[in-house]
Amino acid sequence: MSDFSEELKGPVTDDEVETSVLTGAGMHFPWLQTYVETVAIGGKRKKDFAQTTSACLSFIQEALLKHQWQQAAEYMYSYFQTLEDSDSYKRQAAPEIIWKLGSEILFYHPKSNMETFNTFADRMKNIGVMNYLKISLQHALYLLHHGMLKDAKRNLSEAETWRHGENTSSRGILINLIQAYKGLLQYYTWSKKKMELSKLDKDDYAYNAVAQDVFNHSWKTSANISALIKIPGVWDPFVKSYVEMLEFYGDRDGAQEVLTNYAYDEKFPSNPNAHIYLYNFLKRQKAPRSKMISVLKILYQIVPSHKLMLEFHTLLRKSEKEEHRKLGLEVLFGVLDFAGCTKNITAWKYLAKYLKKTLMGNHLAWVQDEWNSRKNWWPNFHFSYFWAKSDWKEDTALACEKAFVAGLLLGKGCRYFRYILKQDHQILGKKIKRMKRSVKKYSIVNPRLSY
């Protein structure tokens, strides 16, 4: 939309310097236009044509927001006049706006069907050729979600070979994306065939034919996807399927290279999934523990609350290195720092066990290192009287684990611990007694007892 205010902020000539100052140093105000329109401050008046088109646009948007699809569709008929705007900027922007609004109307309109949508998309692709690739991609996505795999694939193939005007970098990326989506579609058929293959007996007469089919698919797909995933971005579905295919054909090094690149390339955003995929791959390959630990260490830096952290902890716990065992404690504390993990009973169980183990193993300093930065807020965050009551009510097992940790960290005088201790529970009675003994012995509040 060529805003009035956009015009205001266009090429700044001498006498328009003041304007940009007044509109607030660089910030753009979409509502400036309405303010300005209330005051006739000279300048060219909007022509009737422009007025009706912009009014029509706002009617369509309003109808869409009220879910009045039929009304929006009726306004859309009139809006097509914007394609004949004498303002070349507006004329160029029009197809995209029409596509956005029109596709939305057709997507939600109760009487619209796939044919209507397809016709509309095909028409829009060719009006204002600038949007051919974008619309093709979105159209393919639409078809894909309606289960029309073949049509989607045909659409993408057409788009892939489309040439018009000069090649720009942005178009290059779009074509890469289209190819990658095509690759993804090929992956779908491939995995379907593979599924059939796995069901078939090796001696089956059809086996060879299907297997042949599966293998023929592979090279096309890999070529399609590999170009895109070199460009910085988030390409989870592509990487995942690509790696799966590489793995299937035994190209482990290739798969690992793709995953390593996806996880560690600095130009890429720090995507936790990249590390998770790499870790899962290594796990499947039965990689050495140290390698897996180093991958998870980075994931720990990015997402200390991830559920893989508990797996990380078990890895670290089993490690011989003292440094790793210390990190194991740190990881558990780190998980429980997060608001979404406070009721994670596994984490509490691990922490209770590991705390006791660490304290028994004469590593009071490790615990104190972790506890020092948390002692001013964990008591309120985890071990308040409120939580003691509600935890006991909701999940007694969780309450017991937490009480044990609270006792170890805060001593037997802590509210949480005392509250759980006071509760009379028949089954847990023994456990609570044992807990009391351990707390007396190992609590860090009284270091005399634990050396």
Partner: protein, 936 residues
């Protein structure tokens, strides 16, 4: 040729699950990271790079679709969660004003507040910018008063309580007041120019006393003016001292009032060049500064970011309190109990508890953590936190002064009593009443690139020790325990989020407050003028969702609402400052990417409820309209208790800058509704989602009741006063007598104007029979045919002579001045209405500011002193006073003008109508404007 792995291939999700230890499945799914993210290009760089293909397609339907992980065949029933009919139906076509409950008055005694116990001032850390004040010292400052000391019972009258909602309100300056309306007609690009010239000339004219008197005083103090003055006693010599003393009456060149006394006039001529430039240049500088400030405020008023309305849940789900500022200056904090009876509209219960504060309340936040409900309030330079006790009465915990001005306050959703505040100095502090302040971050510069705005924002994250720090250019996560100054950018206004040119952050909000399972507790909302972004703190810089909201006003309010049913679609309510409301449906349960679950929806704004009000007089209608158009400064949503219904409704409260609280009831359109008629549906059924809701008589009655209370409050009196120069000596006894008579009448008129009611005949006293409108004269065509006829007969010259004799003859002459007199002293709009606007009816809603200032201020000095001439360029509301004033002045020689008018005809002319203007004899151009007078 084929090497086959022993392990048969299985679909990935199942296989990946099966490999995890069993306990992994027990984990709370809330913190799951999405297994597969939406493909997105990642570009670093500044914003507005057009080269990047916009991969975040702006159609809502594409957000609803996610790339299927495996076979899309399953997606038709599994992954494709597009709910096409996700719609909330408003119960009424528009929001309704909140009313006090009349029956429920005795039901529950409104809680009375106890005075807060004095709190020991916490020791402030030495290097902080904030100083903590104890309650005692606050009291001493007069900043905080608790008028309702222990056990004070509220005023029982319900009529009184209703007026609390309607304080006088001034819409403030508009673009029309600030911008230069003239300019080059045919310039291709219009330009925005602040109208400093207009404003300053108006100021000098209207408030010459303020502008010039101090100068005179200064000069008197610093100049020795006493000479041997007694020698020359000629009348032509005037004492400078006297003049300087009287400089308050000085009016600049061009001002019609500058000529009212000889002395003033001469002095104006003499001192004009000096006085004019020195005063005007100083004033203009200050004024320009002020106007720029006002214009910036008009473009973006960030003060109320976050919203100043909060809902505090009560003992039972049926009761609760709304906390919001009231009063003209929004400096009175109201704690209003509200009853939400099932099947009925929410009502105010009793009188609100009030706390008077020194500054306007900008933000009210509430949060319940571990069963403890806290309330944080931000004013411009103060922040305070209250705690709700067992009886749901607020107790002040601590108040604090922020020297540079506070811009944001938020309550921790994790730890009770912990807050984050940020100030214009760029500092962000963690504040808890027990431990005092801890400065977490300080940077006077903006995060990503340089931006002039000093707006800062702070909120919490999923980690209780990590805060987000935001400004116009980005959002950063800062560890409060880490080394100062470091952190990780969560959101960057730049190519990463494919931001547009000129895009800036308006609001950021942590969405983890509601502990529902629908969305992970790691999501943050970032709103700009164009779009909203959902960012996960585990994947910084790459938005999980981007949606172009297209709101026509700054998006400063957002609320994540509880899901209407356990379907895991959570509504997100967005509020623009202009009153627009939008509802988005967010889904993202478990390990899926957050997405829009359906098309967004707009909700009715306050202006939509105008039809519910009774038909009104134009002026009141306009006032009501302005009031309904007041900016929205607070939003709150409550799920009312409806035990039987499977789907939960919603009550939406909104607070306007005028201090009005409106509510809107919404109910989700259930799927069963949809399925019932999902067969062959007719057009009307499927498409006409046009609001089925309509106003009930109860609604309209409520609206009229509210309106009545609103109209009881008189408008603020005009601040303008007449110039202070003396003129008494010039008034003769005759005029004085007449003045008294007229004074009475004009008093009545003025009163009528102030009250905004129509003029009635009784206001004008005994009205003599109005002069009948002049009979239409023979039109020009008659004359023409007559002349042609005569000419045809050869008597053309004779006819011409006869005609000339008639027009210059005595027949017409006396009528002219008389009629002009009537016009000039009338109260009709004829004097200043632009003829082009004649077509608009007189009740056009834009009466005062709209056409009041259309004329350029440059009035030629020779212009006549008819009231109408003076009235030009004076705001409409002042014109009446000006006319009154001018009527008191001595009659001018050469103008048989206003003063000479006999009172009777003047009174009659009040009813001068537009029809009279069309009579050919009368028109403004006939005024003898150019006649010289008084020696000029």
């Amino acid at each position: 040729m084929m090497k086959f792995r022993a392990e048969p291939w299985r679909p990935l999700p199942a296989s990946s699950f099966s490999r995890w230890p069993v306990w992994c499945l027990v984990l709370i799914s809330g913190m799951d990271f999405p297994r597969s993210l939406r493909p997105a290009l990642f570009m670093t760089g500044p914003l507005g790079l057009s080269d990047i293909p916009d991969l975040s397609f702006m159609c809502s339907w594409q957000h609803a679709l996610t790339v299927p992980e495996t076979q899309p065949q399953n997606s038709e029933n599994g992954a494709l969660h597009v709910t096409k009919d996700l719609l909330w139906e408003p119960a009424t076509p528009g929001p309704l004003p909140m009313l006090p409950s009349l029956i429920g008055e005795g039901l529950i005694p409104p809680g009375s507040f106890h005075t807060a116990p004095p709190i020991l001032p916490a020791a402030p850390t030495p290097d902080t910018f904030l100083s903590l004040l104890s309650l005692c010292s606050l009291r001493a400052l007069g900043c905080l008063q608790l008028p309702r000391a222990s056990g004070c019972t509220p005023v029982p009258s319900p009529a009184l309580s209703i007026t609390t909602s309607s304080d006088p309100w001034d819409p403030g300056l508009t673009a029309r007041d600030l911008l230069f309306r003239g300019g080059y007609r045919y310039r291709r690009r219009p330009r925005i120019v602040l109208d400093v010239t207009e404003q300053i000339s108006r100021f000098l004219w209207d408030h010459g006393d303020v502008a010039f008197a101090p100068l005179g005083k200064l000069m008197l103090e610093n100049f020795k003016l006493e000479g041997a003055g007694s020698r020359t006693k000629k009348t032509t010599v005037v004492s400078v001292k006297k003049l300087l003393q009287d400089l308050g009456g000085h009016q600049p060149w061009g001002c019609p009032w500058a000529y009212l006394s000889n002395r003033q006039r001469r002095f104006s001529i003499l001192g004009g060049p000096i006085l004019g430039t020195s005063v005007a240049s100083h004033l203009a500088e200050l004024l320009h500064e002020e106007l720029v400030l006002r214009w910036e405020q008009l473009l973006l008023d960030e003060a109320c970011t976050g919203g100043a309305l909060a809902w505090v849940p009560g003992r039972t789900p049926q009761f609760g309190q709304l906390v919001y500022p009231a009063g003209g200056a929004l400096d009175r904090l109201h704690f209003q109990e509200v009853v939400l009876s099932p099947g009925d509209s929410p009502q105010f219960l009793g009188n609100p508890g009030r706390i008077q504060l020194q500054g306007p309340v900008r933000q009210v936040v509430t949060c319940t953590v571990q069963g403890e409900t806290l309330l944080a309030v931000r004013s411009d330079y103060h922040c305070a936190v209250w705690k709700f006790g067992k009886q749901w009465q607020p107790t002040l915990l601590q108040a604090m002064q922020v020297e540079k001005g506070a811009t944001g306050i938020s309550l921790s959703p994790h730890l009770p009593g912990e807050l984050a505040i940020c100030s214009r100095s760029g500092a962000v502090c963690l504040w808890s009443p027990e431990d005092g302040l801890q400065q977490v971050y300080k940077d006077p510069e903006t995060l990503v690139f340089r931006d002039s705005s000093s707006w800062r924002w702070a909120d919490f994250t999923a980690h209780p020790r990590v805060l987000t720090v935001g400004d116009r250019t980005g959002v950063k996560m800062v560890d409060t325990q880490g080394p100062p100054g470091c952190g990780l950018l969560l959101f960057r206004v730049g190519a990463e989020a494919s931001c547009q040119k000129g895009e800036r952050v308006l609001l950021t909000q942590y969405l983890g407050h509601s502990s529902s399972e629908c969305l992970p507790p790691t999501l943050h909302l970032v709103c700009t003028q164009f779009s909203l972004y959902l960012v996960d703190e585990r994947l910084p810089l790459v938005p999980m969702l981007k949606w172009n909201h297209g709101l026509p006003s700054p998006l400063l309010l957002a609320r994540l609402l509880p899901p209407p049913r356990p379907s895991c679609v959570q509504p997100l309510l967005l509020g623009g400052q202009g009153g627009q409301l939008q509802l988005l449906h967010l889904a993202g349960e478990g390990a899926s990417v957050p997405r829009l679950a359906g098309p967004p929806q707009s909700l009715p704004s306050r202006t939509d409820s105008l039809p519910a009000f009774p038909l009104l007089e134009p002026k009141i209608q306009w006032r009501l309209q302005e009031r309904l158009k007041a900016p929205t400064i607070g939003l709150a949503a409550v799920v009312p208790p409806l035990l039987s219904a499977p789907t939960r409704g919603l009550v939406l409260f909104q607070l306007s800058a005028a201090g009005d609280v409106f509510y809107q009831q919404l109910r989700p359109q259930t799927d069963s509704d949809h399925h019932r008629d999902s067969g062959p549906r007719s057009d009307t059924e499927s498409d006409c989602r046009a609001p089925t809701a309509s106003w009930t008589s109860q609604d309209t009655a409520g609206c009229s009741q509210w309106l009545k209370a609103l109209l009881k409050v008189p408008l603020a009196p005009p601040v303008w006063t007449a110039p202070t120069f003396t003129h008494r000596q010039l008034l003769g006894s005759v005029e004085l007598r007449r003045e008294e008579e007229e004074g009475q009448r004009s008093d009545v008129l003025r009163k009528a104007m102030a009250q905004g009611r129509l003029l009635l005949q009784r206001d004008l006293g005994s009205l003599p029979a109005a002069e009948p409108p002049p009979a239409p004269e023979s039109g020009p065509e008659d004359k023409l045919s007559e002349r042609l006829g005569e000419a045809w007969a050869g008597r053309g010259a004779a006819w011409w002579e006869r005609q000339q004799g008639r027009t210059s003859g005595p027949g017409r002459q006396p009528r002219r001045p008389k009629r002009r007199t009537q016009l000039s002293s009338s109260f009709s709009l004829s004097g200043h209405v632009d003829p082009s606007e004649d077509t608009s009816p007189p009740h056009s809603p834009e009466w005062p500011p709209a056409d009041a200032l259309p004329q350029p201020p440059v009035t030629p000095p020779s212009q006549e002193l008819t009231p109408d001439a003076c009235a030009q360029g004076v705001p409409a509301e002042r014109q009446q006073m000006l006319r009154d004033y001018m009527a008191k002045l001595p009659p001018q020689r050469g103008t048989p003008g206003c003063a000479a008018t006999p009172p009777s005809s003047q009174a009659s002319s009040v009813w001068t109508t537009r029809s009279q203007q069309h009579t050919p004899v009368l028109s403004g151009s006939q005024r003898p404007r150019k006649k010289p007078r008084m020696g000029f």
